[in-house]
């Protein structure tokens, strides 16, 4: 999941951009990833320069997808300078529809070591964006989260900072269909309580939302209990509560929910449910995935899938 770089994105094959080669592949079938490798880094290459080199290629005006990989291996450099560069070059990327900042494997950099920043200037700069994904919670903010066309927002962290939870609760994303948040662990920056998700779960904020992923969480049971009671369930086709420390407590609330059978798919992978509870879930009559059952006996030995 975060152990390898993307092979495909938006249905197209991903390849790394090499400024010396230029563009070799057709943008209808390929997505370019910009990355600074360990050896580029040792020799002092910078992501900003790579973005400029990419933007100078005339055909980039047709580019609809862009992936940013690793840009830094020391704590010196936040994403801010990349965001500024992309905003300066917004005319070169005016057709950008799908964007991912942080296609970085755990071996390249632990997720909690990725230095993010306020990414919201990107939403203003790229009005055609439909898909936005970011990895890494350190320093992350989405202070002005407004976008008319955005359909998918994916934020992967080992600890989602409270300001980002607030930013999303305040977001203006009328066309959002899929929201996926990796909440993470208290030791890596997660500080929110279930009440902080009230606007997201109960606020009717996202009228077109059909996929909700509140996952990788230390408060997975409370999230399950709250979502189970929410009318939001009626509009969802997928509920993704995977990667967290879901136990029988949260699972029972899901079973008891009158709206749970409206779902087409319930993802509970990486969980701490008992065999009995898994059997009940399996009989629910909808597609439920329950891979990776953890040791449910010891409450103190439960952990989210991605934290450090």
């Amino acid at each position: 999941m975060i152990s390898e770089n993307l092979d495909s994105f938006n249905g197209k094959s991903v390849i790394d951009f090499d400024p010396e080669e230029g563009l070799l592949k057709n943008l209808n079938h390929h997505v370019y990833r910009l990355r600074i490798d360990y050896d580029d880094y040792s020799s002092g290459k910078k992501m900003e320069d790579l973005i400029h080199a990419f933007a100078r290629i005339p055909v980039i005006a047709e580019c609809q997808e862009l992936i940013i990989g690793a840009w830094d291996f020391e704590s010196s450099k936040r994403a801010e300078v990349l965001v500024q560069t992309l905003v300066e070059l917004k005319d070169a990327f005016k057709n950008l529809k799908a964007f991912f900042i942080g296609d970085i494997t755990a071996e390249e950099q632990e997720i909690s070591w990725i230095r993010q920043s306020d990414l919201s200037p990107l939403f203003a700069a790229f009005p055609n964006l439909e898909f936005f994904q970011a990895r890494g919670g350190d320093g992350l903010s989405l202070s002005e989260l407004k976008h008319k066309n955005l359909k998918t927002l994916v934020i992967q962290t080992g600890g989602l900072p409270p300001n980002v939870v607030q930013d999303i609760a305040n977001a203006d994303l009328p066309n959002l269909e899929k929201l996926e948040l990796w909440l993470g662990d208290d030791n890596y920056g997660f500080e929110s309580s279930i009440e902080d998700f009230d606007a997201i779960i109960n606020g009717g904020k996202f009228p077109k939302l059909t996929y909700l992923g509140l996952k990788n969480s230390n408060i997975q049971d409370e999230i399950a209990i709250t979502v189970a009671k929410s009318p939001l369930l009626k509009q969802l086709h997928t509920l993704d509560l995977s990667m967290g420390i879901l136990s029988d407590t949260g699972a029972q609330a899901l079973l008891d929910s009158p709206n749970i059978k409206n779902l087409v798919f319930l993802n509970l992978d990486h969980h701490f449910m008992t065999d009995d509870m898994m059997a009940k879930m399996g009989d629910l009559g909808i597609a439920v995935s329950m891979e990776d059952q953890g040791n449910y006996d010891d409450e103190d030995d439960r952990y989210v899938e991605v934290s450090e």
Binding site: E4, D37, S42, S43, G44, E74, T105, E308
Partner: protein, 370 residues
């Protein structure tokens, strides 16, 4: 032909090699135990015939032989206190063991000299290959690509300074004479935070800390602990190289063990792992080689075989060699991580209808039959 195997008779390596010779029904063989050589109770002449091929196999996985080799190297100038030897799994005496091996093998070679024997793998190369620093130097001299190395690092502070100066954020620290990932530490920092990944288990004792081999790969993030761990490892001779993120497939990173026999890359496994330490005994497993080859493309796979063969060519007196090769996460760099004189224990793996031991036997026959 006649084969003479030097090993630990109770070990599966010896049993498997002997089984292959017996199955062929055309060769004779003898086995000499390391222990008997150490005890000097062997009449070599009784085990050797004209045109004998000698396979010096691993002395590993036998604590009495390990102790014997350490004592073999202990001299008046290097007296050795062996009190910690019975402490199972403890990482100790790696240098003393190597000193013993460096005395023992040349003595064995001298004893074999009067006879009509050929060594599958030469003594000098075996000893070089048990020194990762010396091995890397030879590979570098012969233009075999290896990760960038750091020299003259004997403590944590120097390590950090050198890493910063080279803009290197992650390194592998490997004891020069270790095997099977024993004492290997993968260390990285973002300038502030630190992380050490290792199968070493750190145990605090009254005066100091003790290091033990374990089968579990751990992550250490508390800097005081990381400093203790790294300073302990750096007390011995180590090889330090840049930690290059490995390519990944189906959620696991991988590298390759390529067994080169008679100059040709033959038996290959992809070692897949959740951690950057891919040794197969650490809960890692063989990956689906054909799927991985399809993923990286045949040209890169040929390049991987090629660097393994180049590595073997640096040790021309070795009939076979186990070479560990990585391909980087961006699929651009192919580098040699290690070369192993005893890296041929990969059961149930066929190339051109032969398993590794069968291939060694037929290569020997081809090379040395008169």
């Amino acid at each position: 032909m006649h084969f003479l195997l030097i090993g630990n008779p109770e070990n599966r390596r010896v049993a498997a090699f002997v089984a292959e010779i017996e199955a062929l029904k055309v060769h004779s063989y003898a086995v000499i135990a390391y222990q008997d050589l150490l005890d000097n109770t062997v009449d070599l002449a009784a085990h050797i015939r004209p045109n004998t091929i000698v396979k010096i196999d691993s002395p590993g996985e036998n604590s009495a032989v390990r102790k014997g080799l350490i004592e073999y190297g202990a001299t008046l100038s290097h007296p050795t206190n062996l009190t910690l030897l019975s402490d199972f799994g403890r990482i100790t005496y790696q240098e003393e063991w190597y000193r013993g091996f460096c005395s023992f093998l040349p003595d064995l070679k001298a004893r074999l000299l009067p006879f009509d024997v050929r060594l599958m793998n030469g003594v000098d190369s075996i000893l070089t290959l048990f020194d990762k620093v010396a091995t890397k130097a030879i590979l570098t001299k012969n233009n075999v690509p290896t990760p960038l190395g750091l020299d003259n690092v004997r403590d944590y502070e120097t390590l950090r300074t050198q890493m910063q100066a080279r803009r290197m954020s992650s390194v592998f620290i490997k004891p020069a004479h270790g095997s099977s990932a024993s004492g290997v530490v993968a260390f990285r920092t973002d300038g502030k935070r630190v992380q050490a990944i290792s199968s070493v288990e750190l145990v605090k004792e009254a005066q100091a800390i003790a290091l033990y081999n374990s089968l579990k790969v751990r992550r250490y993030t508390d800097e005081a602990t990381v400093i203790e761990l790294i300073n302990s490892i750096l007390k011995g001779k180590t090889s330090i190289e840049q930690w290059i993120p490995k390519a990944a497939f189906n959620g696991l990173c991988y590298d390759f063990r390529v067994v080169v026999i008679a100059g040709k890359a033959r038996h290959i496994v992809a070692r897949t792992s959740k951690s950057p330490i891919t040794n197969l005994h650490l809960g890692n497993s063989r990956g689906d080689l054909s799927a991985i080859v399809a993923h990286i493309g045949i040209a890169k796979f040929e390049a991987i075989k090629n660097v393994a063969e180049q590595t073997a060519a640096c040790f021309p007196d070795c009939l076979y060699l186990g070479v560990d090769v990585l391909i980087s996460a961006n699929l651009k760099q192919i580098m040699v991580l290690e070369a192993n004189a005893f890296g041929d224990l990969l059961p149930n793996l066929a190339d051109a209808g032969e398993n590794i031991y069968q291939a060694q036997i037929s290569a020997s026959v081809q090379k040395w039959s008169q």
